[in-house]
Protein backbone atom coordinates (compact mmCIF):
# COMPACT_ATOMS: atom_id res chain seq x y z
CA UNK A 1 0.00 0.00 0.00
CA UNK A 2 1.29 3.41 -1.04
CA UNK A 3 1.54 6.00 1.70
CA UNK A 4 -0.38 9.21 1.05
CA UNK A 5 2.57 11.44 1.73
CA UNK A 6 2.74 13.40 -1.46
CA UNK A 7 0.48 15.17 -3.86
CA UNK A 8 1.61 12.65 -6.45
CA UNK A 9 0.35 9.74 -4.38
CA UNK A 10 -2.90 11.44 -3.60
CA UNK A 11 -3.49 11.99 -7.30
CA UNK A 12 -2.70 8.37 -8.10
CA UNK A 13 -5.03 7.08 -5.43
CA UNK A 14 -7.87 9.21 -6.78
CA UNK A 15 -7.00 7.89 -10.23
CA UNK A 16 -6.99 4.27 -9.02
CA UNK A 17 -10.38 4.45 -7.35
CA UNK A 18 -11.96 6.20 -10.33
CA UNK A 19 -10.41 3.66 -12.64
CA UNK A 20 -11.83 0.82 -10.57
CA UNK A 21 -15.38 2.11 -10.64
CA UNK A 22 -17.89 1.87 -13.45
CA UNK A 23 -20.30 4.19 -11.65
CA UNK A 24 -19.67 7.84 -10.92
CA UNK A 25 -18.07 8.35 -7.49
CA UNK A 26 -18.97 11.43 -5.46
CA UNK A 27 -16.22 13.45 -3.79
CA UNK A 28 -17.39 11.94 -0.51
CA UNK A 29 -17.05 8.42 -1.92
CA UNK A 30 -13.52 9.23 -3.00
CA UNK A 31 -12.66 10.71 0.39
CA UNK A 32 -13.46 7.37 1.99
CA UNK A 33 -10.27 6.05 0.41
CA UNK A 34 -8.37 8.52 2.58
CA UNK A 35 -9.94 7.85 5.94
CA UNK A 36 -7.49 8.59 8.70
CA UNK A 37 -5.64 11.12 6.54
CA UNK A 38 -6.19 14.55 8.01
CA UNK A 39 -4.80 16.58 5.20
CA UNK A 40 -7.03 15.34 2.39
CA UNK A 41 -10.29 17.16 1.78
CA UNK A 42 -12.71 17.95 -1.04
CA UNK A 43 -10.45 20.63 -2.42
CA UNK A 44 -7.52 18.23 -2.75
CA UNK A 45 -9.69 15.66 -4.51
CA UNK A 46 -10.90 18.19 -7.06
CA UNK A 47 -7.35 19.39 -7.63
CA UNK A 48 -6.27 15.81 -8.22
CA UNK A 49 -9.03 15.32 -10.80
CA UNK A 50 -7.99 18.48 -12.62
CA UNK A 51 -4.34 17.44 -12.57
CA UNK A 52 -5.26 14.04 -14.02
CA UNK A 53 -7.17 15.59 -16.89
CA UNK A 54 -4.24 17.85 -17.67
CA UNK A 55 -1.89 14.85 -17.72
CA UNK A 56 -4.25 12.75 -19.82
CA UNK A 57 -4.53 15.56 -22.32
CA UNK A 58 -0.78 16.10 -22.49
CA UNK A 59 0.08 12.42 -22.88
CA UNK A 60 -2.69 11.78 -25.38
CA UNK A 61 -4.63 9.26 -23.32
CA UNK A 62 -7.92 8.32 -25.03
CA UNK A 63 -9.88 8.84 -21.80
CA UNK A 64 -10.61 11.55 -19.26
CA UNK A 65 -12.43 12.15 -15.98
CA UNK A 66 -15.84 13.77 -16.35
CA UNK A 67 -18.14 15.23 -13.75
CA UNK A 68 -21.59 13.70 -14.08
CA UNK A 69 -24.66 12.93 -11.95
CA UNK A 70 -23.09 14.48 -8.89
CA UNK A 71 -19.85 12.54 -9.15
CA UNK A 72 -16.76 11.78 -11.20
CA UNK A 73 -16.08 8.93 -13.55
CA UNK A 74 -13.67 8.01 -16.29
CA UNK A 75 -14.92 7.90 -19.87
CA UNK A 76 -13.42 7.48 -23.33
CA UNK A 77 -12.98 10.46 -25.63
CA UNK A 78 -15.62 10.62 -28.38
CA UNK A 79 -13.04 10.30 -31.18
CA UNK A 80 -12.60 6.65 -30.27
CA UNK A 81 -16.29 5.75 -30.35
CA UNK A 82 -16.17 4.23 -33.83
CA UNK A 83 -13.46 1.76 -32.86
CA UNK A 84 -15.13 0.74 -29.64
CA UNK A 85 -18.47 0.26 -31.38
CA UNK A 86 -16.84 -2.04 -33.93
CA UNK A 87 -15.88 -4.41 -31.15
CA UNK A 88 -19.26 -4.39 -29.47
CA UNK A 89 -20.98 -4.41 -32.83
CA UNK A 90 -23.97 -2.59 -31.53
CA UNK A 91 -25.15 0.79 -32.55
CA UNK A 92 -26.55 2.38 -29.43
CA UNK A 93 -30.30 2.70 -29.70
CA UNK A 94 -31.35 6.31 -29.57
CA UNK A 95 -34.48 7.52 -27.85
CA UNK A 96 -37.55 8.22 -29.98
CA UNK A 97 -39.03 11.72 -30.27
CA UNK A 98 -42.02 10.85 -28.07
CA UNK A 99 -39.62 9.44 -25.47
CA UNK A 100 -37.47 12.59 -25.55
CA UNK A 101 -40.49 14.88 -25.26
CA UNK A 102 -41.85 12.90 -22.35
CA UNK A 103 -38.47 12.96 -20.65
CA UNK A 104 -38.21 16.70 -21.13
CA UNK A 105 -41.59 17.16 -19.49
CA UNK A 106 -40.73 14.88 -16.56
CA UNK A 107 -37.35 16.58 -16.14
CA UNK A 108 -38.84 20.07 -15.86
CA UNK A 109 -42.04 19.30 -14.02
CA UNK A 110 -41.04 16.49 -11.70
CA UNK A 111 -42.68 14.98 -9.79
CA UNK A 112 -45.45 14.74 -12.38
CA UNK A 113 -48.37 12.38 -12.92
CA UNK A 114 -49.20 10.67 -16.20
CA UNK A 115 -52.38 12.71 -16.79
CA UNK A 116 -50.39 15.95 -16.69
CA UNK A 117 -47.84 14.65 -19.18
CA UNK A 118 -50.69 13.64 -21.44
CA UNK A 119 -52.33 17.01 -21.24
CA UNK A 120 -49.10 18.67 -22.32
CA UNK A 121 -48.30 16.22 -25.13
CA UNK A 122 -51.89 15.82 -26.20
CA UNK A 123 -51.53 12.05 -26.60
CA UNK A 124 -51.63 8.91 -24.49
CA UNK A 125 -48.22 8.14 -22.98
CA UNK A 126 -48.66 4.67 -21.44
CA UNK A 127 -46.26 2.98 -23.85
CA UNK A 128 -43.62 5.69 -23.57
CA UNK A 129 -43.76 5.71 -19.75
CA UNK A 130 -43.32 1.96 -19.67
CA UNK A 131 -40.32 2.08 -21.94
CA UNK A 132 -38.70 4.92 -19.98
CA UNK A 133 -39.24 2.98 -16.74
CA UNK A 134 -37.71 -0.10 -18.34
CA UNK A 135 -34.69 1.94 -19.41
CA UNK A 136 -34.45 3.28 -15.87
CA UNK A 137 -34.50 6.87 -17.11
CA UNK A 138 -37.54 7.70 -14.97
CA UNK A 139 -38.88 6.15 -11.80
CA UNK A 140 -42.05 6.15 -9.77
CA UNK A 141 -41.20 8.59 -7.01
CA UNK A 142 -44.43 8.83 -5.08
CA UNK A 143 -48.14 9.37 -5.28
CA UNK A 144 -50.08 12.54 -5.75
CA UNK A 145 -52.56 13.46 -3.07
CA UNK A 146 -55.57 13.65 -5.34
CA UNK A 147 -58.42 11.27 -6.10
CA UNK A 148 -57.08 7.88 -7.15
CA UNK A 149 -53.66 8.71 -5.69
CA UNK A 150 -51.91 8.37 -9.08
CA UNK A 151 -48.19 7.64 -9.34
CA UNK A 152 -45.78 10.50 -9.73
CA UNK A 153 -42.74 10.17 -11.97
CA UNK A 154 -39.29 11.68 -11.62
CA UNK A 155 -36.00 11.35 -13.49
CA UNK A 156 -33.25 9.03 -12.21
CA UNK A 157 -29.48 9.23 -11.73
CA UNK A 158 -29.24 7.23 -14.91
CA UNK A 159 -31.05 10.07 -16.68
CA UNK A 160 -28.29 12.46 -15.59
CA UNK A 161 -25.60 10.04 -16.70
CA UNK A 162 -27.29 9.41 -20.01
CA UNK A 163 -27.39 13.09 -20.90
CA UNK A 164 -24.10 13.95 -19.22
CA UNK A 165 -25.60 16.27 -16.62
CA UNK A 166 -24.09 16.93 -13.21
CA UNK A 167 -27.50 17.71 -11.82
CA UNK A 168 -30.94 18.55 -13.08
CA UNK A 169 -30.38 22.28 -12.70
CA UNK A 170 -27.90 22.12 -15.56
CA UNK A 171 -30.73 21.85 -18.04
CA UNK A 172 -31.28 25.14 -19.84
CA UNK A 173 -33.55 27.51 -18.05
CA UNK A 174 -36.23 28.71 -20.33
CA UNK A 175 -37.80 31.85 -19.05
CA UNK A 176 -41.02 31.31 -20.92
CA UNK A 177 -41.29 27.91 -19.41
CA UNK A 178 -41.29 29.40 -15.95
CA UNK A 179 -43.91 31.83 -17.06
CA UNK A 180 -46.16 28.95 -18.01
CA UNK A 181 -45.76 27.07 -14.81
CA UNK A 182 -46.93 30.16 -12.97
CA UNK A 183 -49.96 30.37 -15.23
CA UNK A 184 -51.13 27.04 -13.97
Amino acid sequence: MQPVNTKENLKNIVEAVLFASAEPLTVNDILKAFEGENNVGKKEVREAVDALNVEYGASGRPFLVEEVAGGFRMITRPEYAEYIKRIYQSQPSRLSKPALETLAIVAYRQPIIKADIESIRGVNVDGVIKSLLDKNLIRISGRKDVVGRPFEFSTTEKFLEYFGLTNIKELPRIEELKQFSSLK
Binding site: F19, A104, S119, V123, Y162
Partner: protein, 240 residues
Protein backbone atom coordinates in the same frame (compact mmCIF):
# COMPACT_ATOMS: atom_id res chain seq x y z
CA UNK B 1 -43.47 -4.55 -30.54
CA UNK B 2 -46.74 -3.91 -32.31
CA UNK B 3 -46.59 -0.49 -30.75
CA UNK B 4 -43.23 0.36 -32.30
CA UNK B 5 -44.64 -0.57 -35.65
CA UNK B 6 -47.53 1.79 -35.18
CA UNK B 7 -45.27 4.59 -34.02
CA UNK B 8 -43.20 4.38 -37.14
CA UNK B 9 -46.27 4.84 -39.26
CA UNK B 10 -47.32 7.93 -37.41
CA UNK B 11 -46.21 10.98 -39.30
CA UNK B 12 -47.12 13.29 -36.48
CA UNK B 13 -46.70 12.51 -32.83
CA UNK B 14 -50.05 13.93 -31.98
CA UNK B 15 -52.57 16.61 -32.84
CA UNK B 16 -50.46 19.36 -31.25
CA UNK B 17 -47.48 18.34 -33.33
CA UNK B 18 -49.59 18.50 -36.48
CA UNK B 19 -50.99 21.91 -35.56
CA UNK B 20 -47.53 23.32 -34.90
CA UNK B 21 -46.44 22.00 -38.25
CA UNK B 22 -49.35 23.68 -40.02
CA UNK B 23 -48.74 26.97 -38.21
CA UNK B 24 -45.11 26.91 -39.23
CA UNK B 25 -45.86 25.84 -42.78
CA UNK B 26 -48.44 28.57 -43.29
CA UNK B 27 -46.21 31.09 -41.55
CA UNK B 28 -49.06 32.35 -39.44
CA UNK B 29 -48.87 34.02 -36.05
CA UNK B 30 -49.34 31.52 -33.27
CA UNK B 31 -50.96 34.24 -31.14
CA UNK B 32 -53.44 35.01 -33.88
CA UNK B 33 -54.21 31.72 -35.57
CA UNK B 34 -56.49 32.02 -38.63
CA UNK B 35 -58.66 29.28 -37.27
CA UNK B 36 -60.76 28.65 -40.36
CA UNK B 37 -57.75 28.15 -42.58
CA UNK B 38 -55.90 25.99 -40.09
CA UNK B 39 -58.97 23.86 -39.34
CA UNK B 40 -59.45 23.23 -43.03
CA UNK B 41 -55.85 22.16 -43.45
CA UNK B 42 -55.96 20.04 -40.32
CA UNK B 43 -58.97 18.12 -41.65
CA UNK B 44 -57.28 17.70 -45.02
CA UNK B 45 -54.32 16.11 -43.31
CA UNK B 46 -56.56 13.72 -41.44
CA UNK B 47 -58.13 12.77 -44.78
CA UNK B 48 -54.70 12.22 -46.25
CA UNK B 49 -53.67 10.05 -43.31
CA UNK B 50 -56.82 8.00 -43.80
CA UNK B 51 -56.07 7.59 -47.49
CA UNK B 52 -52.57 6.42 -46.67
CA UNK B 53 -54.14 3.97 -44.27
CA UNK B 54 -52.23 5.34 -41.28
CA UNK B 55 -53.53 4.78 -37.80
CA UNK B 56 -55.25 7.91 -36.58
CA UNK B 57 -55.25 8.05 -32.82
CA UNK B 58 -58.44 9.20 -31.13
CA UNK B 59 -56.68 12.35 -29.97
CA UNK B 60 -56.57 13.65 -33.54
CA UNK B 61 -60.33 13.41 -33.81
CA UNK B 62 -60.84 15.12 -30.45
CA UNK B 63 -58.68 17.99 -31.66
CA UNK B 64 -60.67 18.18 -34.88
CA UNK B 65 -63.86 18.77 -32.95
CA UNK B 66 -62.14 21.30 -30.69
CA UNK B 67 -61.02 23.22 -33.76
CA UNK B 68 -64.49 23.17 -35.23
CA UNK B 69 -65.94 24.36 -31.95
CA UNK B 70 -63.48 27.26 -31.79
CA UNK B 71 -64.29 28.07 -35.40
CA UNK B 72 -67.99 28.29 -34.64
CA UNK B 73 -67.33 30.47 -31.58
CA UNK B 74 -65.25 32.82 -33.68
CA UNK B 75 -68.23 33.39 -35.95
CA UNK B 76 -70.25 34.79 -33.08
CA UNK B 77 -69.86 38.41 -32.09
CA UNK B 78 -67.79 38.61 -28.88
CA UNK B 79 -70.71 39.61 -26.65
CA UNK B 80 -72.66 36.48 -27.59
CA UNK B 81 -69.89 34.02 -26.90
CA UNK B 82 -70.41 31.63 -24.06
CA UNK B 83 -67.50 32.30 -21.78
CA UNK B 84 -66.22 29.83 -19.32
CA UNK B 85 -66.49 31.34 -15.86
CA UNK B 86 -62.88 30.68 -15.05
CA UNK B 87 -61.79 32.11 -18.34
CA UNK B 88 -60.65 35.69 -18.21
CA UNK B 89 -60.04 35.82 -21.93
CA UNK B 90 -62.71 36.46 -24.47
CA UNK B 91 -60.74 34.86 -27.30
CA UNK B 92 -61.95 31.29 -27.92
CA UNK B 93 -58.46 30.41 -29.16
CA UNK B 94 -56.73 31.34 -25.93
CA UNK B 95 -56.60 27.86 -24.37
CA UNK B 96 -55.37 26.24 -27.52
CA UNK B 97 -52.66 28.87 -27.99
CA UNK B 98 -51.50 28.38 -24.43
CA UNK B 99 -51.36 24.62 -24.94
CA UNK B 100 -49.49 24.96 -28.22
CA UNK B 101 -46.91 27.32 -26.76
CA UNK B 102 -46.30 25.07 -23.81
CA UNK B 103 -45.94 22.01 -26.01
CA UNK B 104 -43.61 23.92 -28.31
CA UNK B 105 -41.32 24.70 -25.39
CA UNK B 106 -41.06 21.06 -24.47
CA UNK B 107 -40.40 20.11 -28.05
CA UNK B 108 -37.47 22.50 -28.01
CA UNK B 109 -36.26 20.99 -24.77
CA UNK B 110 -36.58 17.55 -26.29
CA UNK B 111 -34.39 18.75 -29.15
CA UNK B 112 -31.86 19.94 -26.62
CA UNK B 113 -31.87 16.52 -24.96
CA UNK B 114 -31.50 14.87 -28.34
CA UNK B 115 -28.50 17.04 -29.06
CA UNK B 116 -26.92 15.98 -25.78
CA UNK B 117 -27.76 12.35 -26.51
CA UNK B 118 -26.03 12.59 -29.87
CA UNK B 119 -22.81 13.60 -28.13
CA UNK B 120 -23.21 11.11 -25.33
CA UNK B 121 -23.61 7.99 -27.44
CA UNK B 122 -19.99 8.47 -28.42
CA UNK B 123 -18.55 8.16 -24.98
CA UNK B 124 -18.07 4.95 -23.09
CA UNK B 125 -17.59 4.79 -19.35
CA UNK B 126 -14.69 2.90 -17.94
CA UNK B 127 -16.00 -0.64 -17.69
CA UNK B 128 -14.78 -1.81 -14.34
CA UNK B 129 -15.67 -5.14 -12.85
CA UNK B 130 -15.40 -3.93 -9.26
CA UNK B 131 -18.88 -2.49 -9.40
CA UNK B 132 -20.26 -5.99 -9.85
CA UNK B 133 -19.48 -6.64 -6.21
CA UNK B 134 -21.65 -3.83 -5.02
CA UNK B 135 -24.80 -5.57 -6.18
CA UNK B 136 -26.98 -4.25 -3.40
CA UNK B 137 -29.11 -1.18 -3.32
CA UNK B 138 -28.10 1.43 -0.81
CA UNK B 139 -30.68 1.46 1.91
CA UNK B 140 -30.93 5.20 1.97
CA UNK B 141 -31.62 5.24 -1.75
CA UNK B 142 -34.31 2.61 -1.72
CA UNK B 143 -37.79 4.01 -1.92
CA UNK B 144 -41.01 2.16 -1.54
CA UNK B 145 -41.39 1.84 -5.27
CA UNK B 146 -38.07 0.08 -5.67
CA UNK B 147 -39.38 -2.41 -3.21
CA UNK B 148 -42.60 -2.84 -5.09
CA UNK B 149 -40.84 -3.19 -8.40
CA UNK B 150 -38.82 -5.96 -6.83
CA UNK B 151 -42.03 -7.67 -5.93
CA UNK B 152 -43.70 -7.12 -9.25
CA UNK B 153 -40.55 -8.43 -10.88
CA UNK B 154 -41.23 -11.70 -9.14
CA UNK B 155 -44.86 -11.70 -10.05
CA UNK B 156 -44.30 -10.61 -13.63
CA UNK B 157 -47.91 -10.48 -14.51
CA UNK B 158 -48.80 -13.66 -12.70
CA UNK B 159 -50.88 -11.80 -10.13
CA UNK B 160 -54.18 -13.35 -11.05
CA UNK B 161 -52.91 -16.84 -10.39
CA UNK B 162 -52.26 -18.12 -6.91
CA UNK B 163 -48.60 -17.86 -6.12
CA UNK B 164 -48.61 -21.11 -4.20
CA UNK B 165 -49.84 -22.96 -7.24
CA UNK B 166 -47.17 -21.41 -9.38
CA UNK B 167 -44.39 -22.63 -7.25
CA UNK B 168 -45.81 -26.07 -6.75
CA UNK B 169 -45.58 -26.44 -10.48
CA UNK B 170 -43.21 -28.90 -12.06
CA UNK B 171 -40.42 -26.35 -12.32
CA UNK B 172 -38.19 -25.89 -9.33
CA UNK B 173 -35.51 -23.36 -8.66
CA UNK B 174 -32.92 -26.03 -7.96
CA UNK B 175 -33.61 -27.72 -11.30
CA UNK B 176 -33.13 -24.39 -13.02
CA UNK B 177 -29.93 -23.78 -11.08
CA UNK B 178 -28.53 -27.06 -12.37
CA UNK B 179 -29.69 -26.20 -15.85
CA UNK B 180 -27.99 -22.79 -15.82
CA UNK B 181 -24.74 -24.05 -14.32
CA UNK B 182 -24.82 -26.83 -16.92
CA UNK B 183 -25.12 -24.31 -19.72
CA UNK B 184 -22.25 -22.29 -18.27
CA UNK B 185 -19.99 -25.29 -18.05
CA UNK B 186 -20.04 -25.53 -21.81
CA UNK B 187 -20.13 -21.86 -22.63
CA UNK B 188 -18.16 -18.90 -21.35
CA UNK B 189 -21.35 -16.98 -20.91
CA UNK B 190 -24.96 -16.97 -21.95
CA UNK B 191 -27.25 -14.14 -22.92
CA UNK B 192 -29.72 -13.51 -20.11
CA UNK B 193 -32.67 -13.54 -22.50
CA UNK B 194 -31.57 -16.86 -23.99
CA UNK B 195 -32.12 -18.52 -20.63
CA UNK B 196 -35.82 -17.98 -21.20
CA UNK B 197 -35.89 -19.42 -24.70
CA UNK B 198 -38.30 -22.27 -24.82
CA UNK B 199 -39.77 -21.62 -21.40
CA UNK B 200 -43.24 -23.06 -21.31
CA UNK B 201 -45.17 -20.64 -19.12
CA UNK B 202 -45.03 -17.84 -16.59
CA UNK B 203 -44.14 -20.13 -13.75
CA UNK B 204 -41.11 -21.44 -15.60
CA UNK B 205 -40.04 -17.90 -16.40
CA UNK B 206 -40.38 -16.86 -12.78
CA UNK B 207 -38.51 -19.92 -11.55
CA UNK B 208 -35.72 -19.35 -14.07
CA UNK B 209 -35.44 -15.75 -12.99
CA UNK B 210 -35.29 -16.75 -9.32
CA UNK B 211 -32.59 -19.29 -10.13
CA UNK B 212 -30.49 -16.56 -11.73
CA UNK B 213 -31.01 -14.29 -8.71
CA UNK B 214 -30.05 -17.10 -6.40
CA UNK B 215 -26.89 -17.90 -8.34
CA UNK B 216 -25.95 -14.24 -8.25
CA UNK B 217 -26.60 -14.12 -4.53
CA UNK B 218 -24.42 -17.18 -4.02
CA UNK B 219 -21.80 -15.36 -6.12
CA UNK B 220 -21.66 -18.42 -8.39
CA UNK B 221 -22.48 -16.33 -11.44
CA UNK B 222 -22.48 -12.68 -12.30
CA UNK B 223 -24.52 -10.60 -14.64
CA UNK B 224 -22.47 -8.49 -16.98
CA UNK B 225 -23.50 -5.71 -19.25
CA UNK B 226 -20.84 -4.36 -21.52
CA UNK B 227 -22.62 -1.12 -21.98
CA UNK B 228 -25.84 0.55 -20.87
CA UNK B 229 -28.85 -0.93 -22.63
CA UNK B 230 -26.86 -3.71 -24.22
CA UNK B 231 -27.59 -7.37 -23.66
CA UNK B 232 -27.03 -8.76 -20.21
CA UNK B 233 -24.79 -11.78 -20.10
CA UNK B 234 -24.63 -14.34 -17.31
CA UNK B 235 -21.26 -15.89 -16.64
CA UNK B 236 -19.57 -18.04 -14.04
CA UNK B 237 -17.59 -16.30 -11.35
CA UNK B 238 -14.14 -17.78 -11.60
CA UNK B 239 -12.44 -18.55 -8.33
CA UNK B 240 -9.51 -16.41 -7.24
Amino acid sequence: MGEDYKVRLEVFEGPLDLLLYLIKKEEVDIYDIPIEKITKQYLEYLELMKMLDLTIAGEFLVMASTLMYIKSMMLLPPEERVIDEEEDSIDPRADLVKQLLEYKQFKELADHLEERERERVNIFPRAASVSVESEGVELSNVNIFDLISAFSDILKGAAQEDLREIFEDKFTVSDKISYITGVLKNNKNVKFSELFDGTANKSEIVVTFLAVLELIRLKAVKAVQKKHFSDIFIEMVTAG
